[in-house]
């Protein structure tokens, strides 16, 4: 049987303090709840592994990602325990990429060592900015100096694959301060850098109090920041492989790429999303409900196991659950794939869907090829640099339904 690739995402919905722009499922929490949550998650893993045992035989785990929230607020031993459980339940490849997201200031020598010893081989830091005023305004708990200290700790522990997340278009941010951040991070010598522009999401503190903050950089400034990232990082030896992601050769993030390539992944934890066998589903977002559902007492486990094929159970277990239609798969193939710099392959499309990309998307491809936003080069279809900047508009045109 072939080894199909499977990603695993583990959601840790805890943090020290909620940032003003954050609309992810995350909040500060007591140790007792954290412990119950981890137990429940182990229960969920157990249950899924049993339910899907047959199908899972053909899958091999090539990436494990602990995201949040701030996974590093958990005791390091719990991360090790979760990893151990995953290895027991799933076939994890020898060279799997195993990432833990860390917030600067929440990691010490002990944690770093436990991570390293348990097989974690990649650390991702949510730095966002090297400017302490900007960090404070965003509600981040750390300073740039604390980040430097955390970085030193993980490097000393043996980590050689490290990512730093940056953010552009922060209120009050200038092109100069952003450039400064990029320069400082380049000096840190890490293998991977992501830079996202801040999106003001509905319901966040920032959205509700926007007028109290310094003005957002305008479109032109934001564009300059984007252009600068690309140029400075490429000069420093990083390769852009996706709209917002850059890596030194050999350090492309497999977990990240799997989303754009529609590799199957299982999400564990509250609110976690999965793509498994062309079915997308999302876990319940209420932590209490989640804990109740998966705490492995005999009776609950049995009850759920016995009725798992029942749709009622599905609606009880998931916030969303749908089998993707062929059209939806095609849409995803395009709008996710086009986020990659190398774009999508026409042959891969045809092989998967038994219909040519031209037949389905000829008009749209033609339209954007004509105005120079999209490039068709033999088998490859990808966005031109300016097309990337306005990618939402283009991708929306690939929706079929």
């Amino acid at each position: 049987m072939k080894n199909k690739q499977l990603g695993i995402y583990v959601h840790i919905p805890f943090c020290v303090r909620k940032c003003i722009y954050c609309d992810f499922l995350s909040a500060p929490c007591t140790r007792a709840v954290q412990e119950k949550y981890v137990e429940a998650m182990l229960g969920e893993m157990q249950q899924v592994a049993e339910e899907q045992a047959e199908i899972l035989q053909k899958y091999q785990v090539f990436s494990i990602f602990f995201g949040g929230g701030t996974p590093s607020v958990l005791e390091a031993e719990w991360i090790a325990k979760i990893l151990l459980k995953i290895r027991q339940l799933f076939r994890v490849s020898e060279d799997a990429e195993i990432t833990v997201e860390c917030n600067p200031g929440t990691i010490d020598e002990h944690k770093a060592q436990v991570y390293f010893d348990s097989g974690v081989n990649r650390i991702s830091f949510g730095l966002q900015s090297a400017n302490n005023t900007e960090l404070q305004m965003l509600g981040r708990i750390h300073t740039f100096e604390e980040f430097e200290e955390s970085l030193r700790i993980v490097k000393a522990a043996g980590f050689t694959n490290i990512n730093v997340d940056l953010m552009s278009a922060i209120p009050g941010q200038t092109v100069i301060s952003y450039k400064n951040t990029v320069q400082k991070v380049l000096a840190c010598d890490v293998q991977h850098i992501s830079s996202y522009s801040l999106i003001i999401e509905e319901g966040t503190y920032l959205e509700e109090h926007l007028e109290e903050f310094p003005p957002l950089p305008d479109e032109d400034a934001e564009r300059e920041m984007y252009a600068y990232t690309k140029q400075a990082l490429q000069e420093a030896g990083y390769q852009q492989y996706e709209i917002s992601n850059y890596a030194k050769p050999g350090f492309v993030c497999r977990h990240n790429l799997s989303y754009w390539e529609r590799t199957d992944y299982l999400g564990f934890g509250v609110g976690a999303a999965s793509l498994f066998e062309e079915c997308r589903y999302t876990n319940l977002s209420d932590i209490e409900q989640y804990i109740q559902l998966y705490t492995p007492t005999e009776t609950i486990l049995e009850a759920v196991c016995n009725t798992v094929k029942d749709t009622k159970t599905q609606s009880e277990r998931y916030a969303e659950w749908r089998v993707l239609s062929k059209e939806e798969q095609m849409e995803e193939f395009m709008f996710l794939g086009l986020r990659k710099i190398e774009g999508v392959s026409q042959r891969a499309f045809e092989k998967k869907f038994q219909v040519s990309m031209q037949e389905v998307y000829g008009t749209v491809l033609d339209k954007y090829q004509k105005n120079g936003l999209l490039i068709i080069d033999g088998d490859a279809v990808y966005l031109a640099p300016h097309g990337i900047e306005v990618s939402n508009v283009i991708m929306a045109d690939f929706l079929l339904t």
Binding site: F24, Y259, N371
Partner: protein
């Protein structure tokens, strides 16, 4: 029921400036005559369209018959004919007045006489109605009843010392009004045995009964079986039912004879056959001549109405047809716009009429509409001698074929306190007004008379008037006729393509400024797109203004966290949905509201 004695009938209406309390007084009269209990009273019984109640104006004439036992011990039949309250419906007002023998003039005790008060009084006096004044809102702290009484006597010249001083809202002194209706309004005259002569003052369409004619019988008698003929339209039908108006219901009766007000049904299918102002007579025994004053009302303001969703075109047509059943002055014919697709060119009595129809289409028929800039009817005299009436700017002939053009003018009267005379005169000048004269009503108020081009007042003149007089100016106008004028068609080019739905006709001297403002406005309305979009205003091939919508340069998805793809897809779907609400013109997507932006050029 015993036969009604003609001398115990009173046919009257209430006239007033807007907001002076006409409808409230009508409610109180109905309430006090005991036909309805207070509990049954719906606020403002006569205005029964939702829209009318919301806007506080009467759109269609409403009529009610009530019985009043007067102090002299006799019972009187009151026919209260409520008239439309806006200058757009002037002709309807005049026909409703012609159905009355007298009128109650309601004047606000705080505000005194306003432009519409005067216009309505003169209209009533023109119809030989006996008018008696009522001073309303005497309970307001700012009420000055004696000043208003003196003003009525000085300005209008009617006796006002014994005018009832009332509060319609609080029901104060309403009995006095009822008594004066009996004593001051004359009983109708007319011979019940003479050939039938009845005035149509309104008609409505009812799904079961067909057209219901509202009429005032001047001479003769009409009953079930009478073969009636509409003298102007020539339609002949047999009467199915006659009756009078209860509060909100039709009450059949034996016959309607001279002096009475009531309704006739005769299985007529189309209100076009029963035009307001026409005379109903007995086909077998016709009267010698129709009642005076009939005219066919013609629309004065035109605009294009398009469904926002092209697929709703048949729905829009159905809705317009249904509205037309009740509104003979609404006209429409199909037209096609390159930018907007299939729609209708619609004619209205005025801008208010337009707005009402538009709102009813949107509310009652659930249609999402795109409206093009309203315009008036221009007369184009071509060099070959042909004269065309232009209602759609797109149909304007090539300038080389035009000898000259004419535009409609109105005579306007504006009442304003003296401190604002300067700013209102300036406004009228800006709108190409020709000063006719000014009269002082009293020391602090003046009546300004101007001739103004209709196309200068149909957009936002009223708003400008109000804002430049802190809400105090009042305004009334009537059509005056056509004058020669220097007019040009202003075209708007978006991304070098002419957008027909945005073209409008404008006075040549204002073209440049209008063009510039239009471009500025459109620049704000049209969102950034993938390429730069020039917006130009042009007369013929000459570009007179230009703006540019810069290209959109950045629109990137945020971090896709935890593999939550469905959320990102929703974002893209939202984007796609937003595009659907725009009109595709060439490569450019234009939001629907941009087509109406010409209406709001004077907004700061």
């Amino acid at each position: 029921m015993a036969k009604i004695n003609q001398k115990n009938i009173r046919n009257f209406c209430i006239i007033a400036h807007i907001d002076h309390g006409k409808s409230t007084l009508a409610d109180r009269i109905i309430e006090k005559t005991g036909l309805l209990t207070s509990r049954e009273m719906q606020e403002q019984v006569l205005d029964n369209m939702d829209l009318e109640r919301e806007r506080g104006i009467t759109i269609k004439a409403q009529t009610v018959r009530i019985v009043y036992k007067a102090n002299d011990g006799e019972e009187y039949i009151f026919n209260l004919i409520d008239t439309p309250g806006h200058v757009d419906f002037n002709y309807e007002v005049s026909r409703a007045l012609a159905a009355c023998d007298g009128a109650i003039l309601v004047v606000d005790a705080a505000q005194g006489i306003e432009a519409q008060t005067l216009a309505n009084v003169y209209l009533a006096l023109d119809h030989d109605l006996d008018v008696f004044p009522v001073i309303n809102k005497i309970d307001l702290p700012s009420a000055e009843p004696q000043r208003v009484i003196d003003e009525i006597e000085d300005v209008i010249g009617i006796e006002a010392q014994d005018a009832p001083q009332i509060s319609a809202k609080n029901g104060i002194n309403i009995e006095e009004v009822l008594e004066q209706i009996v004593t001051k309004i004359p009983a109708p005259t007319g011979d019940a045995g003479a050939p039938l002569q009845a005035l149509i003052f309104d008609s409505i369409y009812d799904a079961y009964k067909g057209v219901i004619i509202f009429c005032r019988v001047k001479e003769g008698t009409v009953k079930k079986g009478t073969k009636i003929r509409m003298m102007a339209t020539g339609a002949v039908e047999e009467v199915v039912e006659v009756g009078y108006f209860g509060a909100g219901q039709f009450i059949p009766c034996e016959e309607l004879s001279a002096g009475m007000v009531g309704y006739i049904t005769a299985s007529i299918k189309d209100v076009q056959d029963t035009r307001v102002g026409d005379t109903v007579t007995d086909n077998d025994r016709p009267c010698s001549e129709p009642l005076p004053g009939y005219k066919k009302v013609n629309p004065m303001v035109y605009c294009g109405l398009y469904p926002a969703d092209g697929a709703k075109y048949p729905d829009l047509r159905d809705a317009l047809e249904k509205l037309q059943l009740n509104d003979a002055s609404l006209q429409f014919e199909p037209e096609t716009s390159i930018a907007l697709g299939f729609g209708f060119r619609c004619g209205f009595l005025g801008l208010l009429h337009l707005e009402i129809i538009q709102e009813r289409l949107e509310r009652e028929y659930n249609l999402d509409l795109v409206t093009t800039a309203p315009g008036v009817i221009y007369k184009v005299h071509k060099t070959n001698g042909e004269v065309i009436e232009l209602t759609n700017p797109s149909n304007m002939p090539d300038p080389s074929e035009i000898d000259y053009m004419e535009e409609p003018m109105v005579s306007a009267e504006i009442m304003v306190t003296t401190e604002f005379v300067g700013s209102i005169m300036k406004l009228c000048q800006e709108r190409r007004g020709v000063y006719i004269g000014m009269e002082y009503i009293e020391q602090s108020r003046a009546l300004l008379k101007y001739d103004l081009p209709l196309n200068e007042i149909i957009y936002d003149f009223f708003d400008a008037l109000k804002s430049r007089s802190r809400g105090y100016a009042s305004f009334d106008y009537e059509m005056k006729g056509y004058v020669k004028s220097s007019l040009v068609k202003l075209d708007i080019l978006i991304n070098k393509e002419e957008v027909d739905a945005l073209s409008f006709i404008v006075f040549s001297g204002s073209a440049e400024e209008r063009g510039r403002k239009m471009c500025e406005k459109l620049k704000k309305e049209i969102p950034r797109q993938l390429f730069e979009i020039p917006i130009q205003a042009a007369i013929g091939s000459r570009v007179i203004a230009r703006e540019t919508v810069k290209a959109m340069r950045k629109d990137v998805l945020a971090k896709c966290y935890g593999g939550d793809i469905s959320r990102k897809k929703k974002l893209l779907e939202k984007q796609k949905e937003g595009k659907k609400r725009m009109r595709q013109v060439g490569n450019v997507e234009i939001p629907q509201q941009a087509f109406m932006s010409v209406l709001k050029l004077d907004e700061e």
